[in-house]
């Protein structure tokens, strides 16, 4: 971290209330969850051993990782295009891009999920439209499956992917791009060999944010996934509320938090927190 001692002290003081809040409202109760994972129903490592042998937990965990990876690629790619328009477009384009980025933030996650059901279902807008122009005869299954989950999650996460990218694009040195063009590089080549590499930290940052967010998704997959326990957060819900096995639910939570913690550690090795906003 750069900056003088007093600057660093100031930053620490400003952060203190947030850290205290997180410690009390999040870290402290979470220790209780950690305790459950080692003590319920009987003390020991039984629940962690069960995790290794439970094929439901494993299949859901693998699917969660796969969906998170796909959503990350889709969201970051889409966000990259939007961010270019937002940061480098004409004033009118910027306003439109900003509108598209901010409006989703104001709509609840539930509303958006049900919106996608309305759009994608058998008698939804897209299927009726495709059928009326004669493109398909039977409705496509676009929702209540993994496809629907990926669409809904990507839509939710694109705005989150925009900010680190925008930060990277705003801070890059315009003259380097001019120099590349001046030396005869084509627009495509300038983009791929100069522009994209210079936004690398933004890409890593936004990919990490989207990926970590995706791992904990609950409502969107519950609504768009057709009731199958598609992702790990739903499985935790099942274990805590529906067929109570708090020990196993807690153990899954602990594994998830440790996994996300490790990912964040990797992230901060490559990207400074400052570059993410």
């Amino acid at each position: 971290m750069r900056g003088t001692l007093s600057e660093r002290m100031g930053a620490a003081l400003l952060m203190a209330p947030l850290l205290l809040f997180l410690a009390l409202a999040y870290a402290w109760p979470f220790l209780g969850v950690v305790k459950w994972s080692f003590t319920l129903p009987t003390p020991g490592l039984g629940q962690y051993h069960a995790l290794l042998t439970d094929d439901l937990v494993q299949s859901v965990f693998i699917r969660t990782l796969r969906i998170a990876a796909i959503v990350t690629v889709v969201s970051v790619t889409a966000a990259y295009a939007i961010t270019i328009v937002w940061v480098r477009g004409s004033p009118a384009q910027r306003v439109i891009a900003e509108f598209c980025i901010l409006v989703p933030f104001w709509i609840s996650v539930l509303t958006r999920a049900f919106g996608w059901v309305a759009l994608l279902s058998n008698r939804g807008l897209i299927n009726t439209w495709l059928q009326s122009i004669g493109f398909i005869s039977e409705p496509l299954t676009l929702v209540r499956n993994e496809f629907g989950v990926i669409v809904g999650m990507s839509h939710f996460l694109i705005p989150f992917a925009v900010f680190p990218l925008a930060s990277a694009m705003r801070s890059l040195d315009e003259r380097v791009l001019l120099a590349a063009r001046g030396l005869g590089s084509s627009r495509m080549r300038t983009f791929w060999t100069v522009f994209v590499p210079m936004t690398r930290s933004g890409i890593i940052g936004s990919a990490m944010i989207v990926f970590v967010f995706s791992l904990g998704f609950f409502v969107t997959p519950a609504i768009l996934g057709g009731g199958r326990s598609v992702m790990i957060a739903e499985l935790i819900y099942l274990r805590i509320f529906q067929s109570p096995d708090w020990g196993l639910g807690a153990a899954i939570s602990v594994v998830l938090v440790v996994f996300i913690g490790a990912l964040m550690a990797v992230l901060f090795r490559y990207v400074k927190p400052k570059e993410l906003v």
Partner: protein, 371 residues
């Protein structure tokens, strides 16, 4: 004044504002008082303690207003004890969490009797006081140690009549027959009824259904999976999947089936044949804040046929007290799950089997439908 009670005061204020009992402006003033004037209210907790109310937790939606209209308001009028309805859903885990917190805020829960058997066995529920609650006002076999039946519903087949021409399904075998009855299906996410349906379709006789042959049921469900468009987790989902035409047939709660029939103008029909009848019950949390006696009195008050008739009208719940049957008008008898004519077509779920086996069975079911 804890945050929970603060929240509840604000909620009840906002409900009163909505009903127009107090103006919006008054609401804002009173809400401000609750939030800002905490120290002042703290002093009056002693006065509050004497008229401590009951909190009844059910599954939300229309149930909140219906429970209030049928049971809550009348109980408050008779006893002076306020009853607050909370729709947050008393799942087995949520009740356990309430109990283990050491200071439960719930009194009465609308619980699956098999959950009550399990939770009661773990000492989390008060035994029902059958000196206060009248067992003769229940159908025989539906009063348990830790829960008293308060209504009935059934898992029934609802189908889109337009998709099958003059054909109509007559039982679970038809539900699993997509050749004769084309289209997608929807099943319950939490397993109950899906196992029975699969076994009945596979030729098991209703009388020898229990103990369920889970292996056989799961094989049947696994083989049928591609025909299932969704596994609904709540009543609203089951309604929309049929009304949107995503499924041509679904196993849904009978309480919802009659609503779907209404909403679709009769296009979506339902049958009682091989319906799986299930009791709903009230249970009392151990060491409930409003006191055991008040809670038992509430359950007893809910046995009144007139009140159960209101629940039937509002939610389609089959009455727990057989004396209510006679009060139901002839044209409505058709949608009463426990009407003698309907009852004979259905099979009751075995609560004792569920108490012993539900957790493990649901795990296996989730594995199969999610794979």
């Amino acid at each position: 004044m804890t945050n929970e009670t603060k929240k509840q005061s604000i909620q009840s204020l906002s409900e009163r504002a909505q009903r127009g009992e107090i103006s919006r402006r008054q609401f804002a003033q009173l809400a401000g008082l609750v939030l800002a004037g905490t120290p002042m209210l703290l002093r009056s907790t002693g006065a509050f303690a004497e008229t401590k109310g009951l909190v009844l937790v059910n599954w939300g939606g229309d149930a909140i207003t219906a429970y209030d209209a049928a049971y809550g308001q009348a109980f408050t009028k008779d006893t002076g004890i306020p009853v607050k309805m909370d729709g947050s859903g008393p799942t087995e885990g949520a009740i356990a969490a309430q109990f283990k917190s050491g200071a439960p805020t719930w009194d009465l829960v609308d619980v699956d009797p098999f959950s009550a058997i399990t939770l009661g066995g773990q000492g989390m529920l008060e035994p029902i006081d059958y000196k206060v609650v009248d067992k003769t006002k229940m159908r025989p076999g539906f009063g348990w140690e830790f829960a008293a039946s308060t209504y009935f519903f059934s898992y029934v087949i609802a189908y889109d009549s337009q998709k099958f021409g003059s054909n109509a399904p007559t039982g679970m075998a038809d539900f699993f027959d997509v050749k004769k009855f084309p289209g997608k299906r929807s099943l319950y996410k939490w397993g109950v009824s899906s196992w029975e349906a699969a076994l009945l379709a596979d030729g098991v006789a209703p009388a020898s259904l229990y103990p369920l042959d889970l292996k056989r049921a799961h094989d049947k469900i696994a083989a049928f999976k591609e025909n299932v468009v969704s596994y609904w987790g709540g009543g609203a989902e089951s309604q929309s999947v049929l009304l949107n035409g995503e499924a041509s047939m679904a196993i849904v709660w009978s309480t919802r089936a009659s609503l779907i029939e209404q909403d679709s103008g009769g296009q979506i029909k339902f049958i009682w044949d091989q319906g799986l009848i299930s009791p709903g019950a009230l249970a009392v949390l151990k060491n409930n804040p409003g006191g055991k006696d008040a809670a038992m009195k509430f359950i007893a008050s809910a046995q009144d046929p007139q009140k159960q008739l209101i629940m039937f009208d509002k939610l389609g719940q089959g009455p727990a007290n057989p004396a209510t049957d006679a009060l139901i008008p002839a044209d409505k008898k058709r949608i009463n799950p426990v009407d003698p004519a309907n009852m004979t077509k259905q099979i009751p779920l075995d609560m004792d089997w569920y108490a012993k086996n539900y957790g493990a069975a649901l795990d296996e079911y989730t594995k199969i439908i999610s794979a």
